[in-house]
Assembly symmetry: C2
Homo-oligomer: 152 residues x 2
Amino acid sequence: MSETRQLFKLQDLRGRLAEHNYKMTPQRKEILQIFIENCDGRHLSAEEVHDLLREKDFDFGLATVYRNVELLTSLGILDKIDFGDGRMRYELSSGNPQIHQHHHLICLKCKKVIEFEEDFLDDVEKIISEKSEFQILNHEVKFFGYCKDCRE
Amino acid sequence: MSETRQLFKLQDLRGRLAEHNYKMTPQRKEILQIFIENCDGRHLSAEEVHDLLREKDFDFGLATVYRNVELLTSLGILDKIDFGDGRMRYELSSGNPQIHQHHHLICLKCKKVIEFEEDFLDDVEKIISEKSEFQILNHEVKFFGYCKDCRE
DNA sequence: TTATTTGCAAAGTCTTTGCAAGCAG
DNA sequence: CTGCTTGCAAAGACTTTGCAAATAA
């Protein structure tokens, strides 16, 4: 079930960009690379990407990072998530938007975000679609509470 | 089922404030009044509350509105919601946090936010709690898609 | 070559904060 | 009275934008 996630690969970037008349640049390559290297449940903000790039001696402008995570999101390569902590975060997209992928468990104490790799909302979506005449394309679910380490 | 929502009343404000050593002020009274008058599925941002107050000739500082919606949220009188449109929104709390109230359907075209007055997530929460050792206190669910008027 | 992209700095938006003056209890 | 509140303006945090210089195709 969690094997349904197939993430975007670096070698496909040039092609995907070309499809939309965008150019391949070192900035775009390295930004995507950061996400590939951090696909283990991390959710990076633009600034965090910028910092991780600097650690690798890539000193791109922060605005460039902002522009390109947005671009990669529009290409479906990244997903943009809002955990309510005042900044947008991004992660490698699970690819198929039909496979709703995972939920996020947000610890109210340590602020950790845990991924839960299953999705049970198909039935719920069906009921809501029928009752409300709303065509659901996607959903975003956050559970708030205390993680294993923070619960009393 | 949707009768489980019992909203906060204006006459209880003074008492609730006093419990926490806060004072009753005209600003607080009128801000809550705005939410009571707009409890029909509206989700107001601080600025919208400020505007609605001005329409009634209450010219309070915007910072005061910000401070007080935050205060009313901390008292459990309002709920703070993030629809990802770049500003926080508030609505009268459904009261009992155990009664998870409702979900939000967000139309990707007209940006309308529709409330869906039922909650099916108890089973999902139970499964997640068991599998992940995460103690869930609350959840926030958004469904994205097209509303009745915007679907083709 | 030439349209895209970058980098920088400036501007924008929402929200918070400092502080003196005002007010509720 | 006395400490909580307000209002204003300034500061903060994150993000976007304008524009000239650089660059991918």
